[in-house]
Structures are given as C-alpha cells and as structure tokens.
Symmetry: C2
Subunit: 324 residues, 2 copies
Amino acid sequence: MDRAADAGNAVGRLPVEFDRIARYFAPLAGPGGLGLLDDAAVLMPPPGRELVLSADAMVGGVHFLVDDPPALVARKLLRVNLSDLAAKGADPLGYLLTVSVPRETTDEWFAEFTAGLAQDQAAFGIALLGGDSTSTAGPVSLSLTIIGHVAPGTMVRRDGARPGDGLWVTGTIGDGGLGLLAARGEIPDPTGYLAGRYRLPEPRLGLVDTTFVHAAVDVSDGFIQDAGHICRASGVGLTIDTDALPLSAAALAAPPDSVRAMIAAGDDYELLMAVPDATVEVLQGRAATLGIPLTRIGTFTTEQPGTVRMIGDRGADNSGWSHF
Amino acid sequence: MDRAADAGNAVGRLPVEFDRIARYFAPLAGPGGLGLLDDAAVLMPPPGRELVLSADAMVGGVHFLVDDPPALVARKLLRVNLSDLAAKGADPLGYLLTVSVPRETTDEWFAEFTAGLAQDQAAFGIALLGGDSTSTAGPVSLSLTIIGHVAPGTMVRRDGARPGDGLWVTGTIGDGGLGLLAARGEIPDPTGYLAGRYRLPEPRLGLVDTTFVHAAVDVSDGFIQDAGHICRASGVGLTIDTDALPLSAAALAAPPDSVRAMIAAGDDYELLMAVPDATVEVLQGRAATLGIPLTRIGTFTTEQPGTVRMIGDRGADNSGWSHF
C-alpha cells in the first residue's frame, strides 16, 4: 500500500506515473540517463566541443491537433527540436523531456507516444537523458530540451548575413501551413501529402556548416518572420523573389489564396540560409550528397536593414509583405 | 503590419510573444544565451567536468495554486530543479525554460514571473540559456531543464547506500505538505511559516559530496517514497525511527492527523542522505559551515531490500507505513 498516495501526495506524482516512467520511458534512456532511476542524468560532453542547447514546447490544440496520433506528436516534438540543431550546424546528442497529460490519458497513449520517440531516436542516433511526467487539468503539454554539439566557435548564428549573400532555402515552403488546414479538413489533400508535412517535418541535419553558410534559421514561426529574424540580427535588408519560391505540387494544386497566406505561415522546418556566392558550390555539393533540394530565392542587401521586401508576381498584389 | 500573424500563424507564436521574450526574458540571458535572439544557446562546458542534467515540470493547480504570486512560482520552479542538483552534489550552471500560458495572461504576470527568476538567478549564480513561450487553453504549464556540473564520476547517485549507513536528513520534514494545506486555508498557519515553506523551498546546495555521502535524493515526491527510491536503487532495507523525525514548531502545532499524513507527502526539498559513520563528522562540519540543520533518522540494513520500515510512536499506529 502506498501511504504517500493515500495522503494526497502534495506534488501530484501518482504511483501510476512511476510505473509509466519505468515501463515506457526508461527503455528510451541512454547510458547517462541511468535508466531514469535517479534525480538527474550525467553527461560527459564530447571533449573539446561546445554544446548547443534549445528548448521547444508543444501544446495540444496549439501545435498539434488533440486527436493526432501520439507517435506522430512525439516524433514531431523531437524533429522540431532537431530542426533547431540543424539550423545551427550542430550534431544531436540527447534530450530531456517533460510530459504533462490529463489524468484520463491511457496507457495506450503512452505506449504509442514512446514508440514514436523510440523510432526517431534510432533514426537520428540520440537518447533520452531525463525528464518528468505530471498531470494537468488542461491539454497535453510537452516540453523538450535538445542538446547538440559543434566545434568551438562554429555554431551558425542568425547574425552573420552580409549584403550580397544569397538567401537559400531547402525543400518547399508553405506545406506546413497548408498541412494544418488539410489536417483540419479545410482544404482538399487527396494524397495526404500536406497533412503529412504538417505532422512529420524533416529536420535538415548535416547540411549547414559555418565554413560555407553565414547565417541560418529554420522555418518554424513563419517563412517571412524567420527570414526577418536573420535581417534584424544581421542588420541587413533582404529582397525575396516570390516567383522563385519552391512550392510542392500539392501546394500548387491548393487554393491560391491559401497558398499566399501559408507562405507567410510556419511549421515547414525547412532551412533559410545566407550564403556567399563564393561558397555556394560547397553547399550545393553537400545538399546533393544528402538529397536535399536547394533553391535561391533572394539576396541580402544594404537597403532598409532589418526589412524583408517581397517582389515578383506572388507578392505584387500584396504590398503588405514589404512592410513586415 | 505583420502578415504572418494576419495569416493565422500555424505554430501559435504571436508577435506579442516575441515582444515578451525581448522585454522580459532576454535580460535574464547569460553570455551563451545570445540575448535569446537565436534558435539555440551555445555553452562551453567547464573543462574536464561532467554535466548533470535534470528537468521538472510545474503545472498550475497541480504543483502550485493558480493565484500564487508569479514571482514565487518562478522561484519555486528554479529551486525545485536546483534541489535536484543539490542532491547530486552538482554546482549549478544555467537553465532552459518553456512557458505555456493562457492567452489572457497579462504583462504584469510576465513582469512578476521574470522578476522572481532574476532574483533567484542572482542568489544562485545562474543564467537563462534559452527557451520557448507559447499559449495554451489550459492552466499555466512550466518546464525547466537545469544544467550543473561535477568532477567526472563524482555525481552522488541513489544507488550507493550500504547496510550500516545512517539515513540523515536536512532541515525539517512535513512542512511542504502541511504548507499546501495551509496555503489552501485548510489548517491554521498563524505565522505563514508553513505556506512559505510550500511556496519557496530552500535548495540545500553545497552540502552533498561523494567523498562522504554514499547516496542522496531530495524530498520531492514524498518523504517515504523518496527514502524508498534509495532502498530500491541500492538494494538495501531501511529502518526509520519516526520519533527522531525533525519537525518544525509550526508542524508540531498542526493537527496530529495532518502531520502524520504530511510526513508521507512531498514538496519539502530537504535532502535524504546515506552516510557511513566514518564520514559523518565531515558531513556535520560542512553542514555547520552552511548553517544547515542535520538529523540522523534511520539506518540502512540488509533486511527486506527495497523496503522502508517505520518504527517509533509516530509510526506505531500506522502499520501501513512498513508495507510501502
């Protein structure tokens, strides 16, 4: 009998939560995670490397649909954080995770959620280091801290873009935002491609390197917003040719109004990179090796520092874009 | 004008969230936090040190009362995580934080919350490295990952207790659980001492060291529960003399039934340590230097490995305790 639970444990961790940690999360722990049987994980950083750290939260009803498959929610949570490391040119090492769920959450939910984590841990070569599981009266609330590493001084930052650099983007833009509409059933998505892009982004790990990329971000908050982050941090202007934007076949088949709106939306987890002409071929070579499509869509300038200017037919009817 | 917001940003990060990060959280960032202007923080680990990592979530209505002062909620969140480092004998370095709040959360809430963080950052010599701010349809949901460091191989674990070691505890036990009842107005608390212990725990940093402590945990889940963690991890039994339990004057003045129940509750954030007789004086010397009260309340044994046995008058009427 567990007197602590009988007494109404002050901190809200019920015995069932220990069982779930042991059953579902402990098998995900790496060597430093000590089987999640301790208060903390121990990690010897790779010698002579700098750590790169990022944390992202995902909340049911905000960042994913409450009836999304738990395995896909788990994999998206990992991938969203891996995408941050990808933009920084860092190699992933491990992660810590906190999970707050309604009391009625079933064992099946945990089984599927952790199966998703296991699948992507194997795919990306990382392990769980530690975390916490609690209850909440609200929707599922997830938080993940990812740890990666780089050679000292080589983390690619937002503030390194220089006038004359090209703006390059991986993959296609707008699928994430359109995918949310598709997942909600608000636009047609006969192949399920768009919803899939929303639910399971592809972190572009291994592409970015400080020797040939001046600055980078991933498209999470919104394509224009994120391009603007580079401009403001670097103190440069940017002209984007909307006609050059790489759109998927599914996006081209979607209603034009939603495409225009969704280019401004986020959740694509593609990379935006400021690349000098001198090193473009190195970037292209690595992208080809990794099978990652690359498109040049703009140029950084000395004009209106901190501002994104949109030109081309897709932007022409929408002068608001130039006032971001 | 912000077209991304107009379009209905797919990831739920509104411009107000960027403003709040810049206004309230950026001033808390350490050198590696890059002013929270990048996707990630960069951290050069102290040379030749192992990192110690822990993550804890706190949810409104579960781990704190929804009308608790935001500054105290922030400080408790930090201190709960610092307490994990204290139990491991680690020195704190920095932290990452994700904050999910209802849309109606005011600027005042953020101002008070971050003022609390700033106060305890200064008190404990740590800085914010990164994080995320999102909205939620549920209660405030907080997650913090703390990073500390130790000399390689010296993290104090749960699994090192040996038969014959004494069980030592810092401070007083039961105030956290009683403090929750007091904060809810369910028991008298004329001086406010108990509610204060619930709302603002004191992490016992600097006490635990692997050279004189075999195993340690902090009292977070529940005193008996946490003592049991050491027993199960170490494969030893434990006899606790309930008459020796250090109780505060406020706890002694509380209704006896609630004291009995609350000894089993958690949220005290005192340390439980397995200490061999040979090194007790070293521990006592350091505790005296730090002004931390210490009490021996039990002995680890070879009997019934993994089990906590309670003896003494406070446990005598409650045989359930021995069956934990």
